[in-house]
Symmetry: C2
Subunit: 570 residues, 2 copies
């Protein structure tokens, strides 16, 4: 990891001699170029500090994988110098990989109470709750982590207690926004800290790292209050039961639904384990005011007339086995959706989930419910800043250097254009992706040599042991199925003394399988017989078995299942 100036992507300013001039380095480990999980590493002298430690859920090309977590190797290579992790907010893509980091590294974790509470749940599942040192932080109460002085800054987002950070370093202040929007009238009254951001901007900020998620959206993201008003209007007119599916972590949305239930004399039941956990923790931590008596267990709620019932459920992405998916499939143990029900999917449809969500919508409609979702009705607002808010952030902080974060490459590029429009010089903006570090001095910034990072896959107890080859095998197996052809040979003579036995999965239709497998066995017997008495070597035998079965299947089916020959010796 030697530093060098990369001439192709010219540096900004005139970097001094790094051996003499103090510098700070930032290295994105997740969230830049490929969204899904977020982690950023800051380095000043002997001190390393991580911002966030998130996980992502796998896509279709990672069958069987539970999670993807960041590659921690840049931290593990300098484990003695890692001073801590600071968390911005309670979303999985910012906190979910903490247990995997903390089992490797014993470092303190700083963050807002809600994020620490949810992270604590995860740590308990991993048996790490006793080891972890969790430190709750408050807006404007700065604290020291190694050589960094860190000041939490209130931001608004689709989660309670969201923070950005102002990080004082030897070369200047770095501002990291976390995920944010400027909600002019947030549910909890906790406005983003315009004043402190302005003050930092006035004093001078070396580098801003800002959320790029909604950079394609013109204007301003509506206030969370507006979706509350829209939902109120819908519930007012609802003749029967109201079922709202939303993200369990969206405490402000849940607050509004609880409040409007009270307004209309309805009671509320919670469905889904993560919903119950989130509501419990948020209430305990004081982020959610649960009006007296509004929450009921499902069985008590069901005893009320339909027009007095509200259900808040998980499953807004159509996740199989979620409460909503089970209701949609009429497979929920205690609930049947009926005519007169109003189902509201009060959430964004995450790209890749459209078909699943629409399947759930169709199923609910077939059962006679009215269904509203983002796209046909105003039932959700984003938690991320649109263009006007991004401009405001840039103008308040007016950084010397700008690094767009949290976005696909296309978002980062668009954020660069936006920053140029508000006056940040092009050569002071760094569009970098995960693994591409940047070195900052008081007056300059330059790219470092790129660090190769892996995607670390978690599958069951295995962390990182499922690699590209295993995934390719899984996809092959999925697309074509597999066939095992086994024989036993005499160790002395090489003659086949038992088999061929053939078994398969995912290849042919079960009803005709037996006849087909018998034909395949016959083909192998024939191929063996054709080779006559001369026994084959093991490799030749394996090749003959594989080749014969493959040919048989290709000719008859034009398919290419994975063929696995097994040779036993007696």
């Amino acid at each position: 990891m030697t530093d060098r100036v990369i001439p192709a992507r010219a540096p900004a300013g005139a970097p001094g001699d790094p051996a003499i001039e103090p510098s700070v380095r930032i290295l994105p480990l997740g969230g830049l170029g490929e969204i899904g999980l977020n982690m950023m590493l800051l380095e000043s002298g002997e001190d390393l500090l991580a911002v966030d430690c998130g996980l992502m859920f796998p896509d279709d090309e990672m069958p069987g994988v539970d999670y993807v977590i960041p590659d921690f190797s840049p931290l593990l290579a300098r484990r003695e110098q890692v001073r801590g992790v600071i968390l911005t907010h309670a979303h999985e893509d910012h906190i979910g990989a903490l247990p995997y980091l903390l089992r490797e590294l014993d470092v303190p974790v700083y963050g807002p109470r809600m994020a620490l509470a949810l992270a604590g749940e995860r740590l308990r599942e991993h048996g790490l709750q006793d080891r972890a040192r969790m430190v709750a932080v408050e807006p404007r109460r700065a604290f020291d982590v190694g050589g960094f002085r860190v000041e939490p800054l209130r931001v608004t987002h689709s989660v309670a207690d969201g923070l950005g950070y102002g990080i004082e370093t030897p070369v200047g202040t770095i501002v990291h926004t976390g995920d944010f929007k400027f909600d002019p009238n947030p549910i909890d009254g906790e406005r983003a800290d315009y004043h402190r951001l302005a003050e930092l901007g006035e004093r001078g900020v070396l580098c801003l790292m800002a959320d790029s998620t909604n950079v394609d959206r013109a204007g301003t993201t509506p206030s969370e209050h507006e979706v509350g008003r829209a939902l109120t209007d819908r519930v007012r007119r609802a003749p029967g039961r109201v079922i709202v599916a939303t993200f369990a972590s969206h405490v402000h949305r849940i607050q509004q639904i609880l409040d409007l239930a009270v307004t209309f004399g309805r009671k509320v039941a919670l469905l889904g384990r993560s919903m119950e956990t989130s509501v419990r923790l948020a209430a305990e931590q004081g982020y959610l005011r649960v009006p007296e008596g509004v929450l009921l267990p499902l069985e008590e709620l069901s005893a009320l007339p339909a027009y007095r019932q509200v259900i808040i459920s998980t499953g807004s992405q159509g996740e199989p086995n979620s409460a909503l998916a089970l209701m949609a499939a009429a497979e929920h143990k205690y609930l049947r959706v009926t005519e007169g029900d109003l189902v509201i999917l009060s959430a964004r449809i995450i790209p890749g989930h459209e078909r699943t969500v629409m399947r759930v919508v169709n199923q609910l409609l077939r059962q006679g419910a009215e269904v509203l979702w983002d796209g046909v009705a105003f039932v959700h607002v984003s938690g991320h800043a649109s263009q006007d808010e991004l401009r405001l952030m840039l103008n308040l902080v007016r950084p010397q250097f700008f690094v767009p974060v949290h976005g696909e490459y296309r978002h980062l590029l668009a954020h660069r254009r936006l920053a140029q429009e508000v006056g940040v010089p092009a050569e002071h903006i760094f569009v970098v992706e995960d693994g591409q570090g940047i070195e900052l001095t008081k007056t300059s910034a330059r790219l470092r040599e790129r660090v190769p990072l892996q995607r670390v896959l978690v599958d069951g107890k295995g962390v990182g042991d499922v690699g590209p080859v295993v995934l390719r095998d899984r996809q092959l197996l999925a697309e074509e199925g597999m066939v095992v052809v086994a024989v036993t040979v005499d160790r002395a003579t090489g003659a086949v003394v038992a088999g061929p036995e053939i078994v398969s999965r995912g290849w042919v239709y079960e009803r005709e399988a037996e006849a087909v497998l018998e034909d395949a066995r016959a083909a192998v017997r024939e191929a063996l017989a054709e080779r006559g008495e001369t026994p084959l070597g093991r490799e030749a035998l394996v090749a003959l078995l594989r080749g014969t079965v493959r040919r048989f299947i290709t000719q008859r089916y034009d398919r290419k299942p994975v063929v696995l020959p097994v040779v036993l010796e007696v």
Copy 2:
């Protein structure tokens, strides 16, 4: 398939005695409730007539499947009475399953020339070109198919030569719109036949079946000309090469790109086999005017300066191995995307393809190209009618009964609401899904008993032999991988004389696989040893092998691969 009135969904009008009163029946075989493939069956006395015969491409839950085709069993059960198939237009979801029907059933196929030309290509691939009886039809030139008098009606759509049909039956006229929009100024000047639709409406239409795809969109779908103007503007300002990815079948889009290339003194190369085929056929059939000398082979185009090059390519959905995906991955044999290139994805992003398309977008941006796609720029218009056009269709045709077609259940429901708004009585509107037939008399309509339909999957040469069990096996294999454990036993004594041999795929990381497999073998040997001298029966042995390997893997990895025991006998 006995008829009966289903009381729960009350019939409209007062149906007469079906034994005396003549009736016509319609039975949707595809496209209603689940979009993807389209086929509708009409039945009058002894005559069966099919409208369209489409295929769909599988989703993620059908690994390895090539296509899904309709369940032809209602036709095959009455094969002598099938009088023909009429095609509405050249899209795969309307014509793609023809080869599979025609190899079962020798019936004439009527359709517009462009659809017949493309269907002919498919039939040739299946060796059916000589058997098929293809009859080209023209708008307003009615023809007889059995007892039906069929009149083609010009409609506009995102394909050349789109048709709807007016079908005279003994009980009245049925109008099927096909896929349509009312483009006020279509590229080929062929407006939808407002006049004939009005005339039919004036005379009286028994039943309308109309495209529901865009029922969620307010207003009017813009004219194809508008996207042409927008593209012209983009190309005018493009400093270098222009690459446009679009659907091969979108002849009018291609026409506009050819024309604007001429306007700006550029030449055009086509990329992708389906693009070449479509352009060739459309030019041969007179649907595409290829300006003299504008088309060049890629190698000749590449010799020109970048600002004189236009490439029209397939791959607008990010399909792997498509020309565009290869360019994006910098793996195309002859083309490198560079700074200064403008890439336009002039197509809708089909739901489910967002991630793949965005990956391609990011890759192209990384190579320095400017990239435009539907969502950040106006580069595409739909071929389907929006709400105002759907209202116009209902008002022109003013049918006695209305059956929304071509849509998911949610679209069909929304189309019902729309029809009610323009005055169609609720009880005259039938929201039905595939398999749910309707019987029409001159004055009444009622539901028939529902016909159970299968999804027929095509995998290689196999049609219908991949069923739910095979798919479930494939998904299991994909998510967990598989492990084979094989032993050889002495037939006489039952003693294990060879093995255990263990092989696996998609389970563990290859580098550590050998040690793990050896541990697994040891576990099996131990389990066998524990059973002592008493030989096990075959079933007990299989259970022991499976159980031991499963336990081993669960304990060590918390995974559940498919375990396949194989027992050979000597």
